[in-house]
Subunit: 340 residues, 2 copies
Amino acid sequence: MIDFDSASVQLGHGSGGRLSHQLISELFIRVFSDGHPDPLDDAARLTTRANRLVFSTDSFVVDPVFFPGGNIGDLAINGTVNDLLTSGGTPLAISAAFILEEGFPFRDLKTIVETMKKAADVASVRIVTGDTKVVERGKADKIFITTTGVAEVDHDYAIDCSQIRPGDAIIVTGTVADHGMAILASREGLSLEATIASDTASLGRVVHRLLAAAGDSVHAMRDPTRGGVAAALNELAESSSVGIELIEAAIPIRPPVAGACEILGIDPLLVANEGKMLVAVAPDVTEAALAAIKADPLGSEAAVIGHAHASHPGRLTIRTPLGAGRILDMPLSDPLPRIC
Amino acid sequence: MIDFDSASVQLGHGSGGRLSHQLISELFIRVFSDGHPDPLDDAARLTTRANRLVFSTDSFVVDPVFFPGGNIGDLAINGTVNDLLTSGGTPLAISAAFILEEGFPFRDLKTIVETMKKAADVASVRIVTGDTKVVERGKADKIFITTTGVAEVDHDYAIDCSQIRPGDAIIVTGTVADHGMAILASREGLSLEATIASDTASLGRVVHRLLAAAGDSVHAMRDPTRGGVAAALNELAESSSVGIELIEAAIPIRPPVAGACEILGIDPLLVANEGKMLVAVAPDVTEAALAAIKADPLGSEAAVIGHAHASHPGRLTIRTPLGAGRILDMPLSDPLPRIC
């Protein structure tokens, strides 16, 4: 039996022998599969009703592993679920591959795995298969997790990042920059840590409500993670060949987050979010779409933050409270490394 | 433009901004998608004809990254393809998530990515989506790759590790221990390196020929990677509640590999293979199955190496040339860390 209170991961736990099996059966199968492994072992069986699928993968290397509002575990599940949801599909299954540093405490691994299971349950998705590798001390930083997901596309809407049309409203489902600033505060030991928490959350219910209300009129969705709202909207503007103008005063942000960004000289529109979606909808359904999103607790602070237009395709601009406009370029890189 | 001859990976290349986009468009999309990205960007669309799918993931942390017979790139594609093939299904798509150490040379990354594309082409599978994270120097060891695959199950055979029946023949599709000994030789700078190469290969054609010849009579398949033939057959014996007896003299092994194992005191049955499949088939089709496998160049050295029986369920034994039998336990761990 693994001593989850005081033992730590050894190289042998990633080597395919009895130690690997012990880890798989005493932790992964017990937590993820409620004790029932798939008979295929190295692979999982899925049954799909739809013949259109969406497939997405992300590696998570966040530093620190535990932070206000979550840990690498829920981040890894929610991040991949939200990527799948940008298609409007229904997440079906997730795989989880772990790269562990020799010496990583089993207690922390157990906490992370249990957090993943909770996040998967909230998102109504199963963690069906996985892998574990262990590398020598100093050859990785504690724990890296790669999650990959499959979703069924059980609707006929044309939702993708090339579908935004001039006139579309741009909605954000809540406040911006919470995740990135929580990580930064936690990493730097800033005293603002207490009031800023990651927004990590999966948005299946929000997206479901939105599609029920606005269906065909939802043109694109994108979760603004690394690079923040600015990177995501630059990508959408380019892919759809539209201009996008934001109204700065309309962008929801928590006062402590705004304050921390100002003190540190960081533009909150460049900071990662992990529980938000950007949505482009046809102008005639804007109010209905916004109301549907706001009806969910995770969307209660949603707002229309701008619109798409036909001039300057590919360009993102922002209008300040004084009425001036400026170009908001794709950032060279996220100001914070290892944010997710 | 990235200077693939002399530049190296920077933290910004994993941050979601312009540097990330440059890497994605100048390397990943150019090589993997022949320049045509999926319109969904963060996720890929798939269409399946079958409603039964198989889903598998593996992280690759092999050290060294380049070794005789291959590199981490083809290993990552072939490993996941072979896991999918254990179901008898047809691989449909693969995702590739990279964790790169700051300072990793772009020249090496380009070689690895091009090797992945070649391996995917050989396996007739597309690399459809991916992710890149970069961690600081010293926080990862050069490059880790996680591949995840989806296969369609377009047959009605009941193939899984619980289906082996007493009397079934156990076939291995070729020589054992090549991969692990190639890595060891390469890592230790042994002079035997020149004559031992990894067997990394995907086995789609071999499995296709086998199913065409033996169909319903194929009961289980398993690729003997970490922990080697001994770990894989122990798992199969346990899952199927049968005993398995191997005939030592029947197990194909290249003389330099056998010699190296003997010198180093390593049991070749514990050493990883990356281009071999263990197959359990009904006794009446043994010859037909073996002939079908041997008809393929990747199966030309296939052999019947043992059989399943009803006594001692879950136990793997091996009969030596002198006729003595001994128990071949599940190893505690693979004798070689970071073999894949």
